[in-house]
Structures are given as C-alpha cells and as structure tokens.
Amino acid sequence: MQRTMQRHGRRAWLLGAALTTACTIDMENVPVGAPAGITGGDGDGGADDDGGGGDDGTAEAAPAERVQLRRLTRSQYGRTATQLLGDGIVVPTALPADAVDHHYSTVGTAGLSVGGFDVEQFEGAARDLADQVMEDPARRDAVVGCDATAPTCLEQFVTSFGRRAFRRTLTDDERGRYVALGTAIATRFEDPWRGIHGAMIGLLASPHFLYITDVGESDPDDPERRRYTSVEMASRLAFFLWGHGPDDDLLDRAEAGELASGDGVAEVAAAMLDHPSARGGLGRFFGEWLGVEAVGAQAKDPAVYPTATPELFASMSLELERMVEHVVFDQGESMLALLDTRTAFVDDRLAAIYGMPATGDGSMVAVQRDDDDPRAGLLGTAGVLSLTSRRARTAPTLRGIYVQQRFRCVDLPPPPPDVDVEIPDDPAGEGTPQTMRELLEEHDVNPACATCHHLVDPLGLALEHFDPLGAWRADDHGLTIDDSGKYEDEEFHGMAELVAKLRTDPVVEACMVRQLYRYATGHVEVEEIDGPAIDALATVFADVDGNLSEFVPALVSSAAFRTFAEVE
C-alpha cells in the first residue's frame, strides 16, 4: 500500500489538474458555508449524517436577525414586469446582479442591499418599461385602464396599478404622493399621459416594488414568534409558486385576511398551483436546485469534443427542464422519482451521446430507457454528467459534490489551511497511464484530504463509465474502469446502485424539503430554530410520497413558512 501511494503520488501531481495541490482542487468550487451569522444548519442535519458536514461551530453562532427586505431577483423582476405590463414587454437586461447562495438566487439576493449602480439600473429599467407601455397604445390602454384625459384617471391608475406594483393597497400618503407627482408632470408637459407615465416610473422604481417586505406582526398563537401578515403572505406565496407578484384576486383574498391562518394559506396555495404561472414559477426552483442554467452555459475543449457546441448544452438544459416537467408536473410523481425516472428527453444531439437512434426531425421527444440502460434519472443526463466534469476529463470529486450538496444537503468546507501540498516525487511512475481512481488516490490516503474527499470521491468514482460529455465509455483510455463506490460506508457499483441508494435514503427526502424551504423563504435554515419544523415537514413529504402539489400547501401553511422566531 505504501509503495502504491508512492508510485502514484507523483503522477497524481502531474496529470490530474484537479487532483494536484493534494486535496484542495475541485473542492474549491464548493460554495462554502452559509452567510455570516447563519452558519451551520447545513451539515445534512439529519441523524444519518456520518459527520464531516458543516456543523462545526453551529452552537456558537447567534441566529441572524431575519431578513425583512428581500430584493427581487432578476427572474422575479422580469416575471413581475411581464405580469404587470403584459406579454411581449421587453425586460431590460441591465438589471442589478443576483447573488447566489446555497444554489439559490432567492437566498443570495435576500442578503444584498441596493447601492448606487443598482439604483441607477432600477431607475433606468423603470423608465424603459414605462416608455414601452406608452409607445404601444393597446398595451397602454390595457395597463392604465382609463383615458388619461379623464379627470379621475390618474388617481384611478395610481390606486389600481400601485396596488399591483406594491403588492398591497397604497396608504393615503402614498396615493397622494404619486397623484401629486403625476399631476405636476402632466401640468409641466401639458400632457396627462405624461403624468401617468411619470407615476408609473416612480411606482416601478420604489423600494415597495423592488423589495419583498417581510416585516410581520405578532403571532397571537405563539408569543415567541412573529407571523407574516396576510398581505405579506400573498407575496411570499406568489413569488414562490408563480415567480412573480400576486394578482388582484390574490390581493383581494389577502386583504380579506384569508392568508392569516394556516388553513387559509393551504387552500389558497392549492388553487394557486393550477394557475398558468405555477409551472414556470416552481420551475425556477428546479432550475436553480439542479443548476440548469449552468448546464446550458458550459464549454468543453473543442479539440477533444468537437460536438460540444452551445446548441448541445442548450439541449442538455432543455432535457432537464422537460424531465422535471414530465415527472413532477405531468405525471405528478414524487420528486424522488427524478432520481430514477426511466424517461429521457432526447433530440438528435443528445441521442448521439446516449447511443440512441436520432429522432429525425431534431425535436426533443420523450424516450423510455431500455431495462439494460445503465442510466437513470437526473444523474444519468448528459447535462448533470457534463456539468460535473472538466473541459476535457471527468471530475469524480465534482460529481460527488453535486450529489452531496444537491441531494443530501451536505455543505462541504473549503480545504484546510494547513493542507500539505507537497506530493512525493516518484519518477518511476512517469509515463504510465492511470485511471482517475488511481490519480485520486492521494485524496484517500492523505488524512488531510480524506476527511472531505471521502464524502465525495467514492460517489463520483462510481460514475466513471460516463465521459465528460456524459457518454458511456467501456474503458478509460484503454484502462479498465472500476465503478465501485461507497455510500455511507456501504459498497456499491455504478450509477444504478447509487441511484437506488439515494432513492431510499431518508436524508435525501429531508434534503428535498430543505431545498424547497431555502428557495421558498430565501433563507437557509438555522438548525436550532428551524430544524424541528423541517423535520416535521419531512414527515409530511414522506406521507404524501413526495408529491409536489400535495406537499407545497403543507409547506406554505406550516409555521416554518408563515412565522419566524423573534430575535432580540
């Protein structure tokens, strides 16, 4: 063993771009930890965690004050602009950047403030949108709802459009302010439409539009917690389920107090899932969870993979979207079925990778995988397999990280600061081709590396039959592939067995709940505070067999979504 390590050490250093510097590499790509003050809570938190997650230091970390203002993400802004101003509105691209944390723009962006450049971009975007509305008479009439030359039109517009933009009825002050603004502008330009236009810009540039407000009120049922108001709940639900703000009907129900109780929320949420926006809105969650956008933005080494064009990566991301849509929405199956579905979505480009016949017309069609097809579900897609590879080689570490972070909610720490980067020199190893497993051996034998890499490498190594584009390969450049892996210290072989383990692991089930919770609330759970609620939700998730349309009403009507702990 000692000799093996010696012999392979040097080669590991030389060949494996991602393997050198001992264990630092590939682990660096892991978004680390939670935002300051919300540390911990992200080892997978379950009793099954074998340690090594990110629980260290959790105990000392004081819970952060719950964020009360969450800036709209770009996606939320764009979808809300379309909702307010109609299909075909061109959403400005120069919008403030989102931040991403724990895979989610909703979590990262909640922590952002809006500074100088951002304010400028939002003001510019509001003017751009209002200009577009005014330039198109049909759109203008639809959005404004009255003839500006009528004396009451401005106030009527501020009242109705303002309510949709602010996601609540305006206060008298606010209504007065925007009516006065519009009146002044109309007078100055001697054009009542200019008054409407100016008021619209202001409403769309207001912090009441740009932030989701989660201030809350005292909770009569629990003096230690606050609950979001019925009106705040409308926005929480709408942005989660629809990806945009509430419509008039939802605001009516919210202002009537229907969303002050859990039962009311569950009932409304169930109806909201039938809304045409629900697939796109919830689809955003799946996209961010699975990294669909990143799949589409990949590039590989064209000298090695000439077929790896932007169009191929677009096909890969489309397959992931179609798979989610099919399993979760069309079939109403458990979210867990995403792991082992036998349905693939294939066009000619993907067929070439999957070794399937071309579909002929270039469109993407659903295909049932053969029983002897070694692929299954999400992990079997070219999208996930290539996303977790380098430009010209596989990266078992990245594949393992993907599984641990996305499906088991294990947060992996960055490499230790005292990592030993000196790897023994062994010229005898020069020139001998080695498998990825051999190259990665240093991760296994060096204790400094093994603490983390033992969590990830053994998962990824089992997928070595899939090349950097996700195509099956019988061997690795002529070398025999050993597809054995370790899942929680249990040996297994290949993708099918890994998927089977994930499919039946309660940690995976609980992780899906966590992922939904994080995206929905824009908040990474604090174990001591949110842990019990999440555990309870995991039980519900199991009871409804992971069915999203049954689970979502339970999630949003739970205390974890409707209320939050008071922090002094």
């Binding site: 991602a18 050198t20 120069a94 304010v119 100055r188 330009f189 430009r391």
Partner: protein, 435 residues
C-alpha cells in the same frame, strides 16, 4: 470648476450628445498647465486592476532590482519603453494569511482585512472597504461618478451562478461590475438630460421614491435599515449626478460590444473597449477612481487568445501545463499594459493622466498551483502626481502586502494612519515607493 456647462450646452446644442473639443480641461488650466486657472490642483486618480488565480512564481518577478529590471515572461508587456518608467514591480511581500483560499485572500489583498468565508459571492468580502473605495471617499466626492467598477471576463465559479460582482468592497459587500463597454459608455456619456422638464421630472420621481424609502425605513430592524440606507444613499447619488453638469469634453464614438458566443470570451476586445471608455471618462474628469476585475478567482477563464486550451483555474493546478499558465498571465499583463498605454497617451496640462494615477495591480494568490501568499505578485503604476517613485523593481521581503495599497492611498492624500485591520493591515508606507 465653475464654468456653467449645462447652460452652455443648452444654449449651444439643446440636445443629448454634446461635443466640445478635447482635451477636456485644457481651457480651464492655468498658463503652466499644472493646475486649474482657479488655482485648484489637478485631480489625482486611483485604480485597482485585478486578475484571478495568481502567477507562476518562476516567471514573474525580475531577477534584478532597481530601475534596470529585465522583464520576465509574465511581465514582457510592461517593459514597453513608454510605460516602463511608470511601473514598479514589488516582490517579496507576504499577504499574511498563511494559505490562500482565493476568496479570503482576494479580500485581504484589496482591503488589508479578513472575512469569514461565506456563501454567496456578493458577501464574500470583508466588512472593511477595499482601497479603491477608501480612495473614492476622498477623490470621488467631487467627481460626477464616485467610482467605476468594471469587469472583463464573465467566467464564474462553477455552481456559483452569474458572477457579476467587482472586487471593490463597500459596506461589507462586493459592488456590482459593468461588463459591457456599450452600457458603460451610455451610462457615462449619454445619461445627461439637457431638457429642464425631463430633468425636473426625473428628480421629482426620485423624490417620491425617496419618500417611500424613508417611510419604509421606519418599520425595519437595524440590519434592514442599513440596507435601506444604502438604497437612499444611491438615490441621493443619482439625484446629485442628475444635477451635475454634463461633460464638456467631446463625446467619443459609442463602442459596439464584441460578440460573445459563450465558448470563447472576447477578452482582449472587451478589455480594450472598456479601457477606451474608462480613459475617456477619466480624461473628462467624470470619474477619478476605478477598479477592474479582469478575471475572476477560481473561475476557469479560457485564455484562448494566448493559445491556451484549459480553463485558467484548472491549469494552474496542472504542472504539465505550466507554460500555459505563464502565457495566460503574460496575456493578462498585456491587457493591463494597454490601460497604462492609454492613460499615458492622454496629456493633461504638463503631464499625462498616468502621471496623476496610482494604480494597484494584484491577484488573489501568489502561486496559483500551491496557493502560497508569500512573495505576492504586485505591480504599481503611475506617480500620483509626483508622490510615488516609479520604474523600479522593489524587493520588499518581510513587508506585508497591504503596505502597498496603503502607500498608494497616502500618495493620493488619504489622511488615514492605518489601512485594513490589525492583523493584515498596514500602518507604515513602503519607503522605496513613497516620495
């Protein structure tokens, strides 16, 4: 600066896209060209230029110290005889963090302070401001734009989403960066409205928005109040800018963004266009402080123009591709050199813009292969109007890296007695660099 520029423009042109002749400030200078006619000193400028993933140590620092340094493979571009006298290579400093993890070390390199590693990129910063933002407090207060944050490569950390943040840090956050030369141009040169009614309308709208922000602020806890304070500050800045007079210099040709097919980023084209717009903006005195994020830490930037076929982060860790690493950094330095060349080409009175700049160029690691942070790679350019020595290779072994940005800040007149925190910061300047 009391010339009524807006009045002038309204009278003469009455429209957007105003033009007066370059050089912008010539008409306002005194007879010697070393100050404004009013006696006010010509402005100093401060910039940072950042490239990710460190350098190949053996091909970075010159063998010779002093003014006669011979360029290494990485530094060839800086040996251009026009800019070399303005360039100082500072080797041997120690960032002080022991082991570089890219993100924390990057924050320390620019702020002299640490951060706890956090999740999203936006908060992967320190609670202390980066040196450029300290400079902006001084120099940016009287310019139209307080500072500009710019980016060239958009390649991001896998799994990290879009990374559109600069390396400038303020209020505990990374500031957003502009990556489009065209959008930058529009923002700088076309954002002025010469029509009084339009201008008053925008101000009126911003006032209403501010009133909304004020009333919302009252309902919030401390953390979110701070968030809204930043928002209010941004609204105030925008109002102030709208009320500022538009540039008197000629508006240059609007750039066209280079095509980005997603596979090969147009790095040199985008970098040069951004520099062209930036230098015009500096020449017009629209801005005095800038930070450029040329390439991102950990990102697998593909330096295809340098003949490289592997992402930059991956190749830093592949010793068999060491030459590609060298070529990538040499390519990055070419882009930095272009900035210096452009600044040197603009005369401002008796000197050039580069004479009045203090530019700090560094990375997030020393050697990207081993993640070292000793013998940190630092280049300084410009003379800060005579307050900086230049043209030498300074071996500064035993010094903290943060002495360099501190020296530059002192050179432009920042009155602080320290920079950064007690562990990684500086309280003394680098004597070989300061005049």
């Amino acid at each position: 600066m009391t010339i009524g520029r807006r009045r002038f423009l309204r009278g003469v042109l009455g429209g957007v896209g105003c033009a007066v002749g370059l050089p912008a400030l010539e008409a306002m200078l005194n007879g010697n060209g070393n100050a404004y006619a009013s006696g006010e000193a010509l402005p100093l400028r401060f910039g940072t230029w950042y490239f990710g993933n460190g350098v190949p140590g053996e091909a970075w620092a010159p063998a010779q110290t002093g003014p006669d340094w011979m360029p290494t493979s990485c530094l060839q571009a800086l040996a251009d005889p026009i800019i070399k006298p303005y360039v100082s290579i500072i080797s041997g400093t120690d960032l002080g963090v022991g082991f570089g993890d890219h993100i924390t070390s990057r924050a320390v390199a620019f702020s002299g302070a640490t951060t706890a590693p956090t999740g999203g990129q936006a908060d992967a910063a320190t609670t202390m401001p980066s040196c450029d933002q300290i400079a902006a407090d001084l120099l940016g207060a009287t310019s139209t734009f307080r500072s500009l944050e710019l980016g060239v490569s958009r390649a991001y950390i896998m799994g990290g989403g879009n990374d559109e943040f600069s390396i400038a840090m303020k209020d505990g956050q990374l500031l957003p960066a502009e990556f489009s030369p065209k959008a930058l141009f529009d923002r700088l040169f076309l954002g002025f409205s010469p029509d009084t009614r339009e201008l008053d309308t925008r101000i009126g709208i911003l006032d209403a928005v501010k009133a909304d922000a004020d009333s919302l602020r009252a309902r919030l806890g401390a953390a979110d109040r701070a968030k809204l304070d930043a928002h209010l500050g941004g609204l105030g800045e925008l109002e102030t800018r709208l009320l500022t007079e538009p540039p008197t210099c000629s508006v240059p040709m609007a750039p066209v963004d280079p095509l980005d097919d997603g596979a090969n980023e147009p790095l040199s084209a985008r970098s040069r266009l951004i520099v062209d717009v930036l230098v015009q903006a500096i020449a017009c005195d629209l801005v005095r402080v800038f930070s450029v994020r040329f390439s991102q830490a950990i990102a697998d930037v593909l330096f295809w123009e340098a003949g490289v076929n592997e992402g930059s982060h991956t190749l830093t860790h592949d010793p068999s591709k060491r030459q590609m690493y060298i070529d990538s950094v040499a390519f990055s330095m070419e882009q930095f050199a272009y900035l210096l060349q452009r600044l040197a080409a603009v005369t401002e009175g008796e000197a050039t813009l580069l004479d009045r700049c203090a530019i700090y160029c560094t990375s997030d690691l020393a050697d990207g292969q081993t993640h070292t942070v000793t013998d940190y790679p630092v280049v300084v350019a410009g003379r800060a109007g005579g307050a900086l020595k230049s043209g030498e290779h300074i071996a500064a072994a035993g010094k903290r890296t943060s002495v360099v940005p501190y020296t530059l800040l002192k050179a432009i007149g920042v009155q602080a007695t320290s920079f950064g925190d007690a562990t990684y910061g500086a309280t003394e300047v680098l004597p070989e660099l300061a005049v």
